[in-house]
């Protein structure tokens, strides 16, 4: 999994879209799954598939949209992972989705929120053709992957303002680590009049462009030594 995250990192640092170069099939094997996909959007309007083309996983997303029930909808609503390790045991919970999903060949479905605080991007769906829970290690990998995919999708949504050839900030600096990163995100969103999601991208881009630690830039924002609504010196 470290290699997968490094691959995402390298893709980002090269100015390419790290996610586009990452084969979802490879990642699925590492997480111990038979298929994986990620979708943007959390509302009732459904999802836009943005990563992964494996037919069963994407079919499971389509099913949920068609039937109006299923784990992805619950994850999008509650923001908490749903781990259905045996769909045969979930016939009451999802009377339409569970049998239809089993017809597609899935026996276990694991869905993770793609979010950082109130920034909700979408969900990531992992499925297996045999029932059984994820091991603690696989679960850890899946959660780490969900974090990385969240950031990749945010960067894709708000490319750097100064032109496409400017690389996006890398993954090397974890975002969910420091309280000040999230405080600064909130402050920047007010300063620029943008969403928290865009504010986080701008904060990371600034740290990258200035070759500084994300935590240090965030601390400057919180201490009001740095504002994002003033022209750069």
């Amino acid at each position: 999994m470290a290699m997968v995250l490094a691959q995402l990192n390298r893709g980002s640092a090269d100015g390419a879209d790290g996610l586009a170069h990452l084969a979802s099939a490879t990642v699925a094997v590492i997480v111990g799954a038979d298929g994986i996909c990620a979708g943007l959007g959390t509302g009732a309007a459904g999802k836009v598939l943005v990563w992964g083309g494996e037919p069963v996983s994407t079919g499971l997303e389509d099913l949920q949209f068609t039937l109006g029930e299923g784990p992805s909808r619950e994850v999008a609503a509650a923001g908490i992972p749903v781990l259905a390790s045996d769909l045969a045991g979930d016939l009451v919970r999802w009377p339409a989705f569970a049998p239809a999903a089993m017809d597609l060949g899935a026996r276990a479905v694991f869905v993770f929120p793609l979010r950082i605080g109130v920034i909700a991007v979408g969900t990531m769906l992992v499925h297996r053709t045999v029932p059984g829970p994820l091991t603690p290690g696989q679960l850890t990998d899946a959660l780490a992957l969900a974090d990385a995919v969240t950031l990749a999708l945010l960067d894709r949504q708000w490319p750097p303002p100064d032109g496409a050839d400017q690389p996006c900030p890398g993954w090397a600096q974890p975002v969910t680590y420091r309280a000040e990163v999230h405080q600064a995100t909130g402050m920047i969103s007010v300063q620029l009049g943008v969403s928290l999601a865009e504010a986080l991208v701008r904060l990371r881009a600034h740290a990258w462009a200035a070759d500084r630690l994300l935590a240090d830039v965030a601390a400057d924002v919180v201490a009001r030594r740095l504002r994002f609504d003033e022209p750069e010196r």
Partner: protein, 274 residues
């Protein structure tokens, strides 16, 4: 109101009524003061009341951290949780003060909570001078904040350590066995609270539960930032506003934080004019 730049040297607890009462416990009964015994009972009743409601996990942990300071012979308390990658994060502190929070964040690599979580054993009465080499960054920052001793008690679910209860003393008083037992009981209550969050379908899904608690904390941090910038105040002051507002209106802290972070119209009186 002390802002970031002008914090007093010492991280102090607000001197509310309850904490004053707790220090005047003279009548001993079976080794424990009657006053404290009653406070303990009240705390556990309060906990039981909270857990049957649609409770807010971070608010619950904040209250628990405050009760630790009132019930134990310590001056500050915090609850640290381990994320899915083994990193420690502050979930709640008895005082949401940037200096105190920093003491939790400095324990990412080395500190009493890291030791406690790795070994599963409590760290009790650790003198900060004596441990200056063991935890260089943490010990120095803690001493700068006026603390001289530190303790960490494991938050444990069966074989799994999910975090630690971190206690700080400003004087070199020894934390008695009785205090350690009470502290561990409060830590166990914190564990129960984290695991009892609503909306979690799978009883054994510890990683998801921890992730959910930590994400609630991120929402609060984002809201602090939005509110601080909108009102031109420090993030510490923003937290006081958020919590005071939630308490006065009997709202969940997480809900208020989410509305502020998202800029929902229901939060407009808190946010002030844009």
């Amino acid at each position: 109101m002390a802002s970031d730049g002008a914090s007093p040297d010492r991280v102090r607890e607000p001197e509310d009524k309850v904490s004053k009462v707790s220090k005047v416990s003279k009548v001993y009964f079976g080794g424990m003061s009657v006053t404290r015994e009653r406070q303990l009972v009240e705390t556990f009743v309060e906990v039981a009341d909270t857990l049957v409601d649609d409770f807010d996990v971070i608010d619950f942990l904040l209250t628990l951290a405050e009760r630790c300071v009132q019930l134990l012979d310590v001056d500050a308390a915090g609850i640290m949780l381990i994320d899915q990658r083994g990193h420690l994060h502050a979930a709640a502190a008895s005082t949401e003060n940037a200096r105190l929070v920093e003491l939790f964040e400095l324990q990412t690599d080395a500190g009493p909570c890291v030791d406690c979580c790795r070994s599963g054993e409590p760290v009790i009465n650790a003198d900060l001078d004596a441990n200056a080499e063991r935890w260089p960054q943490f010990a120095e920052a803690a001493r700068r904040s006026g603390f001289v001793a530190v303790h960490a008690l494991p938050l444990r679910l069966r074989q799994t350590i999910i975090g630690a209860l971190n206690l700080f003393s400003t004087e070199n008083r020894v934390l008695a066995d009785d205090d350690v037992r009470v502290g561990q009981a409060l830590g166990d209550v914190a564990t129960i609270g984290i695991l009892a969050q609503r909306g979690l379908y799978q009883a054994d899904l510890l990683a998801a539960q921890l992730q959910s608690a930590l994400n609630s904390r991120i929402v609060i941090e984002q809201a602090k930032g939005v509110l601080a910038e909108r009102r031109g105040i420090s993030v510490d002051e923003a937290f006081e506003l958020l919590r005071g507002h939630a308490r006065r209106r009997n709202l969940r802290l997480s809900d208020v934080a989410r509305e502020v972070a998202e800029g929902t119209t229901s939060a407009s009186d808190l946010l002030g004019a844009p």
